[in-house]
Symmetry: C2
Subunit: 229 residues, 2 copies
DNA sequence: TGATCCAAAATCGTATACAATATCGTGCAC
DNA sequence: GTGCACGATATTGTATACGATTTTGGATCA
């Protein structure tokens, strides 16, 4: 339960991870300004490390940096949402096929543990946690495919997807995901690359269509941002 | 000719761009340590902005950050080289097809000007510059496809490719590239999506096979690095 | 001679201080 | 009463100072 200390990581990374988790769990609303002094006080560190953390998050597109204005939690547009899933649609099915060809028993166990943890989190009402674990499943597939470069790209896209889902999710069908993952894991365990690829393709499409991507879904968070947009 | 000042960019970005250019043109050898004080003196700024710049470059995988040890120019492995081109192979052909469908006369002109500039640089012996322009061609294709998210990913992959090419290029066939781009531009101008897609796929394969990716091509830059690897 | 340990130097990580810029409120002119 | 200008305030951008960690060199001892 205690956060595992990665001694090799710098302080800014830990802050970035904490902020990312908060953003993914939608505890910080998109568009929120992240004041450096304020955040620094919360984490008990100086602005130096906060700035480094914010820069990391900006590279992941989880926050937006505006010169002399500050950092704001990203508010992915509908277009961006589509683009992220378009990118995933181009990368992940092929990764899944490759993963099926290299699948080991250990890999099956790892993926299964992800699903289990996801179910546990869901049962405990930890929606954010479940979402993160669900995303991690996709990253693991790329890892199994032994494509670390694409794995990183997918990790970033998954992180952005998490924010997108938090924003545009039309509430319903919370566990259909796990079912999709369950079918996927079976195809992967059977080394059925073609089926796994197809399942992943459909899974991503399902995810996309489960979003409400009509233009300007809800009223903008703040009036000021709305008028500037 | 003068570097255009982007007033909206922070100082660290300018330093990062300058360093990136130097790395791409292979004026700084892979594996070279980038001492913060030293680099800071060169650019006449403090370590604060240098650190920010190095962090940006680390995110692009152009430099590697080692805790308490410093920043080193990245030395992509053979595996990483293959992975980068695998990622590009998954993304760019589809982008090319989409670009063909949205191509305007202005876009044709832009792409043509890229090729012309590339030829000019090549004629002037500016190999590094030509390489960069050649890469920019690929980024432009994604822009024309109106996929800014994938455009960013490709931009990053192209940047890494530039370093990879500088490392693993087996000297020969310098201008076959431009020919490939020329054929591509014609297919794009004719809005022949299928042909453009195929040409891009082959072009990327050509690029990959033009590299010498046998294990451990040349002797490592430094003994110390060699022994640690 | 070789290895080991320790101290000194170098370098990175973080905090603080100062400068530049943007934001916001107030007052004045019309 | 409205619009604009200007100064006060807040916030970011950059530089510098200090502490922590690593590296390096030499001295000591087997």
């Amino acid at each position: 339960m205690a956060p595992k200390e990665k001694a090799t990581d710098t302080a800014s990374t830990k802050v970035a991870e904490a902020l990312a988790e908060a953003i993914h769990e939608h505890r910080i609303a998109p568009g929120t300004k992240l004041n450096e002094d304020e955040v620094g006080e919360v984490f008990g560190v100086s602005r130096t490390v906060i700035r480094a953390a914010l820069q990391q998050l900006a590279h992941q597109r989880l926050v937006e940096l505006k010169r002399n204005r500050g950092a704001f939690v990203a508010r992915p547009t509908v277009k961006e949402a589509r683009e992220v899933f378009e990118a995933r649609a181009l990368l992940e099915p092929t990764m899944t096929r490759h993963a099926a060809e290299r699948m080991t028993d250990a890999d099956v166990a790892i993926l299964q543990s992800h699903i289990d943890a996801e179910h546990a989190a869901l049962a405990a009402g930890q929606t954010g946690k479940a979402l993160q674990l669900s995303g991690q499943f996709h990253v693991e597939v790329a890892r199994i495919a032994d494509q670390s470069t694409i794995e990183e790209i997918i990790a970033q896209l998954v992180a952005r997807s998490s924010l997108i889902i938090a924003l545009y999710w039309q509430r319903r069908a919370a566990l259909c995901e796990s079912n999709a993952h369950h079918a996927l894991i079976r195809a992967l365990a059977n080394k059925d690359g073609a089926l796994a690829e197809e399942l992943m393709k459909n899974h991503l499409l399902d995810l996309l269509t489960s979003l409400d991507l009509r233009e300007q879904t809800s009223a903008p968070q703040s009036l000021s941002e709305a008028l500037k947009a």
